[in-house]
């Protein structure tokens, strides 16, 4: 019991302490422009202590910014799942479809969000006020879709022949086969894809906000860089990291639920 507590409570704190020390030392030696931990805390305090305050368009509490970002991510992510899951199913079910579209997927997959965003903005240029939001959504969806697509395809291909035989012997209709056999059987894989996709969606949001200047954690980060308030860059980085971590944990809880089923 004692060693358990030591492992899980004390060791992470030691890790954090080491990083803080390195940070402090860096500030004192080679990175003169880097704000020190204490200065970062000092400057960030109003944003953390009043996390939902709204003092201006680009001057809001950190959790309020996070909330904006999460909403945008949720929209883009939902779009990614709605488009990605059926594509994954087609890839898993049809060899012809795979041969036709797998190469292009493999080529599009490694393209960075920074490359997609301008295209997204161009695509929705006509939308006027909403152009930046639509462009950001497009970028999030396009970038975060791939793990869902590929994992769903793997899940569908990995369905045991036994289950397919049951469907065949019982002569289940296509609809029934899909909903009673194919989807439940590939759910565990699909959720792995969903989790990875969410991670990417969160990565992309920051880039998208930075470029479009939308209010949100990423937008705030970029604005504070331009305003030379470097402490807030660190605040944003930490916030982004913590939120990403929490999202991943939440998804893996859901994922585990489906693994045992």
């Amino acid at each position: 019991m004692k060693s358990f507590k030591f492992d899980w409570l004390v060791l992470p704190f030691i890790g954090i302490a080491v990083v803080m020390l390195l940070w402090q030392v860096s500030c004192a030696t080679w990175a003169k422009d880097l704000p020190t931990p204490s200065k970062t805390w000092e400057t960030s305090k109003p944003y953390i202590m009043e996390p939902f305050a709204k003092r201006g368009e680009m001057d809001q509490g950190i959790l309020r910014f996070t909330w904006y970002s999460l909403i945008l991510v949720a929209k883009g992510y939902a779009l990614a799942l709605i488009i990605g899951t059926p594509i994954g199913f087609f890839l898993g079910l049809s060899k012809t479809f795979t041969k036709a579209f797998d190469p292009i997927i493999q080529v599009l997959r490694p393209v960075s969000p920074l490359a997609w965003l301008p295209l997204g903005l161009v695509l929705f240029m006509g939308a006027g006020k909403n152009a930046s939001e639509l462009g950001a959504l497009f970028t999030i969806a396009v970038c975060s879709m791939w793990p869902t697509v590929l994992n769903t395809a793997v899940g569908v291909r990995a369905i045991p022949q036994d289950y397919l035989n049951v469907a065949k012997v019982l002569k289940l209709s296509r609809r029934k086969t899909l909903f009673k056999v194919l989807i439940p059987a590939s759910l565990p894989y699909m959720f792995t894809g969903f989790r990875l996709s969410l991670g990417i969606a969160w990565l992309v949001i920051v880039a998208a906000e930075m470029l479009t200047g939308r209010p949100g954690v990423g937008g705030f980060l970029w604005q504070e860089y331009n305003a030379l308030i470097y402490e807030h860059i660190i605040l944003c980085i930490i916030t982004i990291g913590v939120v990403g971590f929490i999202l991943d944990r939440l998804m893996s809880v859901v994922e585990k639920k489906f693994k045992t089923a």
Binding site: Y163, K168, V169, L172, K180
Partner: protein, 285 residues
Amino acid sequence: MSNYVELSNLTKIYPTPKGDAVIVKDFNLNIQQGEFITLIGHSGCGKSTVLSMLAGLSEISDGGIILASKELSGAGPDRGVVFQSPSLLPWMTAYENVMLGVEQVFFTASKQERAEIVEYYLTVVGLADSMHKKPAELSQGMRQRVGIARAFALKPKMLLLDEPFGMLDSLTRYELQQVLIELWRKNKITALMVTHDVDEALFLSDRIVCMTDGPAAEVGEIMKVNFPRPRERKAVMEHPDYYKLREHLIEFLEVRAHRKPPTATPPSAPLKQIVPSNNNVLNPV
């Protein structure tokens, strides 16, 4: 008596890069309505291939199957299949697994009637108390009981069993053989079972079909089993003919299964085809 099931010149060929692999060649067998047939042979001889062609899960390369005066094509719930692994869908309860098939076959019946069918069969196989459990909560033997219930609940024209008890320990296997034979007797379903267990075959069957080794496996010999029914395991094993038949089967499997064509005349109606001497030319391996 007319034949209920006819397998004529049933052949299975898999194309391989090295040429065609003939798994089963000119397999001929006629089955009467209500008969219990076991197909016995060495592992990999192609007996499961014959069964899966009957089930419609494997394409027929040549020859054909007639079931109740109709040529078979594809799979369908008129044949209840019990697989070697129970093949239950793990996200559904035992009840839902059986219901999946029942809904398919009795789509005109009322909800109430369908529920009664499912409950009845699960109760008969001894799962009255566990029907709402998921397969993961059931023992291997219980899962296979669900598999049996699922097959019978469809009221199929024919029952196909692919080594259904192969993965069970011997005590559970005895229990389940008893469950199976009782259900079969009550429902009078024509059954074909694949096994490599000699005692299981003797206990259950009306006739035992011995298959020669593959490639190009075929019917080696057919043995009639005339123990009185209903059968009790003890009575069957003490029957004066039991060990004679058992010896005969084992001798076939040990010696004659490897040779083809067998020269001995089968004790029952000779259904086997005399294979022409150029048979070996067709063997690629």
